[in-house]
């Protein structure tokens, strides 16, 4: 074990972990906000509302995130129209491209998770709400969404972990996230084993942290669904 390599790379790993968390936070926020309305459309009975959203999630989920990231980062820059547009100051930032690709991805998966939970809402809950005279908007806001989102929590926690791992691709477009920090250490000390093992330990710690947080959230929001003691 080359401890020197790990030790001198440590500040890089810490900065990298911070960037990883920023990328994760930003893309999850974008994905979550966009996924809510899209999930309602996806679960709608109207095919004109449902099918475009289905096509979006199908294409995103059917292609590797690495390809999407390359398309956004290197691909878009191929067109001078893009390079001269008002969006270029944003698109020229590797950070923005990564968040955009990751956000689109998590959005597509989250839409499917939410839509699944919305369609699986027990009929009785909806009938009860109608019987109480709730309007369509009230039904969505008070009954359908809170109920569905709570039930989505376990699947969504998996999605968050997958995204944490997905952010490692940021290192391929010049960003110095956790994996990027490991590649720097590897290239400076030619110690791939130490470099990537350290990154793996960091990721494992972050994964456990997130899993722990979701367990707490599940205990808070899903108490009513736990098996009852008899």
């Amino acid at each position: 074990m080359n401890w020197d390599a790990i030790q001198s790379g440590l500040p890089g790993y810490l900065d990298g972990a911070w960037l990883t968390l920023q990328l994760l936070g930003a893309s999850l926020s974008i994905g979550l906000i966009a996924a809510l309305p899209l999930a309602l459309l996806r679960a709608s009975a109207n095919p004109w509302a449902r099918q475009p959203v289905w096509a979006f999630t199908y294409v995103i989920r059917g292609t590797p995130m690495l390809v999407q990231l390359f398309l956004i980062y290197y691909g878009l820059a191929q067109f001078s129209a893009v390079r001269e547009s008002a969006l270029w100051p944003w698109l020229s930032e590797a950070w923005f491209c990564a968040v955009l690709a990751f956000g689109l991805n998590t959005c597509a998966y989250t839409v499917e998770i939410f839509a699944g939970c919305i369609t699986a809402t027990p009929r009785g809950e909806i009938e009860a709400a109608r019987a109480l005279g709730l309007s369509r908007a009230q039904l969505h806001r008070r009954i359908l969404l809170p109920s569905a989102l709570r039930r989505a929590l376990p699947a969504y926690s998996n999605e968050v972990i997958m995204m944490l791992h997905g952010t490692s691709l940021a290192s391929i477009v010049t960003l110095l996230d956790l994996t990027g920090a490991a590649r720097e250490v590897n290239s400076r000390f030619y110690a791939p084993f130490e470099a990537f093992l350290t990154a793996a330990v960091f990721y494992l710690a972050l994964t456990f942290l997130l899993v722990g947080l979701f367990h707490l959230a599940e205990r808070r929001f899903l108490t009513h669904l736990r098996p009852r003691m008899t």
């Binding site: 290197y74 820059a77 390079r83 020229s92 590797a94 391929i172 010049t174 590649r183 720097e184 590897n186 290239s187 400076r188 030619y190 110690a191 791939p192």
Partner: protein, 261 residues
């Protein structure tokens, strides 16, 4: 749990068959090459890797009467892969530097080319740290250019890429202001192509031997006798005209001790 014990057996047999890969018998050499560094090494439309490095590799293998397999690998993985015995030699335009000599051995140089900064024509008067202060400078990760730029342009931002071609893409896109690289690939791989229009060399060539070493050599593992064999083979192809033939295919000048205008 009888059923699970049986369940254990079948996969074990499958794994054992897959894991058994034949050990080397006669003289076989695996050479690490890059594939994204024209004109030295690039993958053509047919999916095959070709270029100056590749032709040199084949010529040396013919001298050594060895059967060679070329393995493409990104540059930052070359030395780790060599040490991990993923291949036996690296022919990837790797400069002979003191720092790398701590990890691997090198043969004599097989070519030499100057190192230059490239940028949009007319933007920078020279390539000094003062001029490039606050600018984004692209380099290929772990190259001599990476090491030199990291230590020299401390007031700029060094952006590191896995492939030289990615540096070109981002230079053309305007994500980086300048890029430091070998003059030969810069010229043939970018400046002479449509994407490189409006770009040119800036400032004089860099040649601090501490960073840039003494030309490109073939890297082998420390203490490997392959080094002497390769040196003899190199001298042979230099002497018998094979080297000249390969050189003339790619360059109009003497690449062995090249000075590019």
């Amino acid at each position: 749990m009888q059923r699970f014990r049986i369940l254990l057996l079948a996969p074990l047999v499958m794994l054992a068959t897959i894991a058994l890969s034949a050990a080397a018998q006669d003289r076989k050499l695996r050479i690490g090459v890059e594939g994204a560094y024209p004109p030295f090494s690039q993958v053509g439309a047919d999916g095959k890797v070709a270029g100056f490095d590749i032709d040199i590799a084949h010529a040396l293998c013919a001298e050594l009467k060895a059967r060679c397999t070329l393995v493409t690998q990104e540059f930052d993985g070359m030395i780790p892969s060599l040490i991990a015995r993923k291949f036996d030699a690296v022919i990837a335009s790797m400069s002979i530097t003191e720092e790398r000599k701590k990890a691997v051995d090198f043969t004599d140089k097989y070519y030499q080319s100057p190192n230059r900064m490239i940028a949009k024509v007319g933007v920078f008067a020279d390539a000094t740290p003062a001029t490039l202060k606050g600018k984004r400078i692209g380099v290929q990760r772990t190259t001599i250019h990476d090491r030199f730029a990291t230590d020299t342009f401390k007031d700029g931002t060094i952006v590191r890429y896995a492939k030289q071609s990615e540096v070109f893409l981002d230079l053309a896109a305007g994500r980086i202001d300048a890029a430091l690289m070998d003059a030969v690939p810069a010229d043939t791989g970018f400046l002479k192509k449509p994407a490189g229009k409006g770009f040119g060399f800036v400032g004089a060539a860099f040649n601090d031997p501490k960073y840039f070493g003494h030309g490109a050599g073939i890297a082998v593992r420390k203490g490997d006798t392959l080094r002497e064999e390769l040196n003899r083979a190199l001298a042979n192809i230099r002497g018998n005209g094979t080297y000249k033939k390969i050189q003339d295919k790619y360059f109009e000048f003497d690449i062995y001790g090249a000075v590019v205008k």
